[in-house]
Amino acid sequence: MPQKSFSTRSLRFQLIFSASVLMLLISLIALVAVKRYAYQTAEISYDRYLSNSARQIMDQVRFNNLQFSVDIPFSAFKSLTNSPRDKVYYLVTTQGLNYITGYQSLLDQKEVINTIQNYPIKLEPEAEFFHLKFKGSLIRFSIVSRAINTSEGPKNVFILIGQTTESRKVWEKELSNFAAKLIIAFVACALLVIIILINKVLKSVNTINHKIAKRSNVDLTPIRLDAPQEINHLINTINQFMTQLDSTLTNLKNFTSEAAHQLNTPLAGLRAQLDMALNKSKDPETLDFLIKISSACHLLERTILQLLNHATIKHRYQSIEPEAIHINQLVKTVCRELAINALDQEIELSYRDSLQFSIQGDEFSLSQMLKNLIENAIKYSSKGGEIDVEICQQGSKAVLFIRDYGPGIDATDKPYVFERFYRSPNANSNGTGLGMSIALDVARKSNAILSLEDSDPHGLTVKVQFPHKFWQAII
């Protein structure tokens, strides 16, 4: 099976697929944004606690007796205790990295030293923040500084306070999870609405589709449907096409009937005059010419008849509702019609059946098919020959056999028999070369399979098979 390109998939699939991809993209961007927002929110609020604590400690730094002293207020850590699993580290130090109080080992960290040395000294100090890997866990530090007057002039004291990030991470996660849930719910709702809308739009397309599919193929009246404006345009276009097709078919029908009249009338005149001449002429040479003209005239008559019949058949298949046709009855009627003609050529026609069945089809076309097939068999039979027509069941198929015992057709010629204007090299009489191609056309339109086999011991067997679901036994 060839790969379906996207643009030929169903409209519903295309719309839902595009909408889903778009919604997925939007939700991914939203999720990333939410994560970022949650991270920043957590950072800002936890950083504020840290810097507050640092400032509270900073307020308690004194310079007494030639040295710094800090009275760490309990309240400084109060705001940090909401996160019970987090550890808090602090350090108070001078610009010269003289340890005052806190975790002295923090002074060994390069990052801490750098931060202290690069800290911009301002009148109104601002808190700065940085991350540090310390004692095996990631810690967020806040640093504030203050200048304190000493006997040796103002000196900068730095307060560092840090906290492990577990609780801020939990909070960040909670925040982003909540937002993610909101986004997913929103996207789901949006998709649902989109699918409902798509269905609503496609419903009118489907309605047209059903209306057209439900019609018989000969109904060319306009479609009547109240639909949205856009769909109405489509309906109008379809209706226009159907009107055009209808008028083409009518023209074809008129043409066929006009052609029949316009061709057959002068031909009848020709035939009548020719018959009169044949009747009256005494000169053998003239008679010979007249006989040749007569046979050419006969071929012309047959060809015109077959061409008109073929046109009529084609037209009927597009304009006439198929009806139940009792095949056995039809075959017998056609056989009886042709039997007299065959007998004139000393060819005997026989019929037998072991199955009675009917099919849905057009009687005129089917009888033309049978006529052509049987006439063909008569044409290729030799004097005193027989033609067997048989209807039977083979497996699940209903089969019609028309067997003649003439010269038959070579295997190499068989494929060409159904071509228009093909004539067998074995033909002993003039044929139009149209009969078999018309028969094949009718067989195809009647869901039958037409094939050629050899008769035993020689001759041609035409086999018309009706597959299982296209015929109905008559009991």
Partner: protein, 222 residues
């Protein structure tokens, strides 16, 4: 016989006129629907050969007109090929039709047949080959000699002789032969046909059996 030929195509009309004149009939030719329309009301013909496509009046109108006045046999010539046209024509009261182009031999045979059919109700004798069939005194002659037939065989011969050159199915024969109250036996037909065949063996007419299709009452070429 007096024959009216209504045909606007001169080629056909001329040929028909010449042919029927040669056969010894009186022939009138009309090329226009209006003329034909008034003519059929005033003159009694034995046979009318009528083309359908005429100037001024259509063939259908002329048949209607003919049927208002007489039961003259009418043979239609038509160049149209649709089936329902023909059925419509027969319903209108035409006796037979022939599609153009036609064979003269066939035209003559059809004319003879419809004239005989019309006369059949007036005359009691029907002749086929060398069989003379008399409906009035129920006698059958072969080559002039009376042959004896039983009631069923006589009825069977009547069916055949009124439907010559047609393959009659057994079902059709049964329909003609039996009343509704008489249960038909399809095999009995074979017996009757066998007997009839023996009875007319000396004639030049044969009853041919076509397997699966029926019987054909056919004159054997000498």
């Amino acid at each position: 016989m007096r024959i009216l030929i209504v045909e606007d195509d001169r080629l056909i009309s001329e040929a028909l006129e010449s042919r029927f004149k040669d056969l010894g009939h009186g022939v009138d030719c009309v090329y226009d629907g209006d003329v034909a329309f008034s003519m059929v009301a005033h003159t009694q013909f034995d046979l009318i050969i009528l083309d359908l496509n005429l100037p001024n009046k259509s063939g259908e109108q002329i048949i209607k007109r003919i049927r208002q006045h007489s039961n003259t046999p009418v043979l239609i010539l038509t160049a149209r090929s649709e089936v329902y046209d023909r059925i419509q024509l027969l319903d209108l009261g035409a006796d037979d039709y022939l599609s153009k182009p036609f064979d003269f031999g066939e035209l003559e045979a059809r004319c003879r047949a419809i004239v005989r059919r019309r006369q059949g109700s007036d005359h009691n004798d029907i002749t086929y080959g060398d069989i003379e069939f008399n409906t009035a005194n129920c006698s059958v002659k072969v080559k002039g000699d009376i042959i004896e037939l039983k009631q069923r065989e006589y009825r069977l011969l009547e069916i055949f002789i009124t439907h010559p050159n047609r393959v009659m199915s057994k079902e059709e024969i049964i329909d003609h032969l039996y009343g509704y109250d008489n249960p038909p036996n399809i095999n009995a037909i074979e017996t009757y046909v066998g007997r009839l065949r023996k009875a007319i063996i000396s004639s030049n007419v044969e009853i041919k059996t076509l397997r699966g299709l029926g019987y054909l009452f056919n004159q054997v070429e000498a």
